[in-house]
């Protein structure tokens, strides 16, 4: 029952566990943001098929348990993708997808769906007149997005995006089930080999809590920054 550094305890293991959890969460969140932006665009554009596809994606992901979805992608999705890559001769026989990559992909597909709805809400909250004014100034579509839509959309979307960030750090614990190394799998390993379950799971919980509290502080700063120049009513 020790948290010493090196061979004497589990201190360094926990440290690397936190790093891995952060790595998985940050990568998955970044990919999820891209998926979310594409999803929000698909849901709001004028092409009926894309609307339908966006709705199906968010509905299906939201109604499946996250754990099932991770198992589905890890055990069913990854072999299928490998087979596909081998069959089209992109990679050689015997190629294996990195398990960390697979769980990052699984988490980003899940959170892509949640972020789709958060970002769609943000886009819809930007007054239409602003876009019309930008058009009247002769701005082309990418410039309108970068200068007008995006900065304002982020302001409305930041609380929701922050919640999803807090959720993704917590749901990254689920990937320990398929054997990826992160904080919970370190805690489990330490608890199993020493039989001090309460202590090591307690430490694990406190580290997650520290991550949450730290994120909350950071998010409130971000929110303040996104809202600078806006009068508080």
């Amino acid at each position: 029952m020790s948290l010493a550094w090196g061979d004497a305890g589990y201190g360094d293991d926990f440290f690397w566990g936190v790093c891995n959890t952060l790595l998985i969460s940050v990568c998955a969140y970044a990919v999820a943001l891209v998926i979310g932006l594409l999803g929000a665009w698909a849901k709001l554009c004028h092409i009926k098929v894309l609307n339908r596809a966006g709705d199906t994606y968010t509905t299906v992901v939201r109604s499946l348990p996250e754990l099932l979805f991770i198992l589905l992608i890890f055990y069913a999705g990854t072999p299928a993708l490998t087979r596909l890559l081998v069959n089209i001769h992109l990679v050689e026989e015997g190629f294996e997808i990195n398990p960390t990559g697979a769980v990052i992909f699984a988490l980003s597909v899940i959170y892509g769906a949640y972020l789709t709805d958060v970002l769609r809400g943000g886009i819809q909250s930007v007054p239409k007149g602003q876009i019309e004014a930008a058009k009247a100034y002769g701005m082309h579509a990418p410039l309108r997005f970068v200068r007008i839509l995006f900065p304002q959309m982020i302001r409305f979307a930041i609380p929701g995006m922050g919640n999803q960030w807090l959720n993704i750090t917590k749901d990254s614990a689920l990937v320990s089930v398929v054997g990826a190394t992160e904080l919970l799998s370190v805690g489990r390993g330490a608890a199993n080999s020493t039989k001090h379950f309460m202590f090591y799971f307690g430490v694990t919980a406190l580290l997650y809590l520290a991550l949450t509290v730290f994120s909350l502080a950071l998010l409130s700063q971000l929110e303040k920054r996104a809202n600078r120049g806006v009068r508080r009513v």
Partner: protein, 241 residues
């Protein structure tokens, strides 16, 4: 290893359907206990006395700030370890993971719903509470007859989405040996090496349950807000004329 619809329908589905009652029981039991516990949590959170609000705040932070899976492991392995051996032998049901799963899911729900309920209790219009006082109701009567029912109505949409999240969270109980839908699917997967049939089967089952529960909760919401949604008879007759 390929996807076989016939096998999925003939062999996997019947077993998964037998496991649905376990998933639903877990959801309903934990929703009832968790939401009931949320009332004292929310009240303590709103209290002026620091002996009440500090623990309530810490409890909510702990429940919302740590992964449910860690809480479940802590309770199943950690708290389970504290139970002395003679008790385990005397009461074999203590070995069963389901009690730990119910405990973990219930207190987790209490933390989340407690915070939601706190907001809703604050959102009850003050005039209604004053009116209740003016009728001569005691403090507890005001709470149970006016403030709480009104607050529940206010947070009903949030509470029903919490219930859906709870239903999805019951899948974590599969990791502490509770034979619900996901564990059943996983057991077949490990025994037969059939990945696609079992996991996709489980996905279909969850999709249908969640869809059904969403419809049910929407119905409940409409029913509880009947008086608000109904079109007043004066307007109805005006439209007819």
């Amino acid at each position: 290893m390929k996807f076989d619809v016939g096998y999925m329908i003939a062999v996997v589905m019947p077993q998964l359907i037998w496991a649905i009652p376990m998933t639903l029981t877990l959801t309903i039991v934990c929703a009832i206990i968790g939401n009931a516990l949320a009332i004292p949590v929310a009240l303590a959170r709103l209290a002026v006395n620091p002996i009440l609000w500090i623990p309530a705040r810490l409890f909510i932070l702990l429940m919302r700030g740590t992964p449910l899976l860690v809480q479940l492991y802590f309770i199943y392995y950690g708290v389970g370890q504290l139970i002395p051996g003679w008790m385990m032998r005397g009461y074999p049901f203590l070995r069963d993971g389901i009690w730990y799963a119910i405990f973990a899911l219930s207190i987790n729900t209490a933390g989340y719903t407690g915070e939601i309920l706190r907001g809703a209790l604050l959102a009850v219009p003050y005039g209604e509470i004053e009116a209740a006082r003016a009728f001569g109701m005691s403090r507890s009567q005001v709470f149970w007859r006016v403030r709480l029912p009104r607050a529940i109505r206010i947070c009903l949409p949030t509470m029903s989405s919490e219930t859906i999240l709870l239903l999805k969270a019951t899948s974590l109980a599969s990791l502490v040996t509770v034979n619900e839908v996901l564990r059943t699917a996983n057991t077949i997967r490990i025994e037969t090496y059939r990945v696609y049939d079992t996991l996709i089967g489980a996905a279909i089952v969850y999709f249908i349950i969640v869809y059904g529960l969403t419809r049910g909760l929407n119905w409940l919401e409409r029913r509880l807000n009947r008086d608000r949604l109904a079109i007043p008879s004066t307007i109805k007759s005006a439209v007819k004329a």
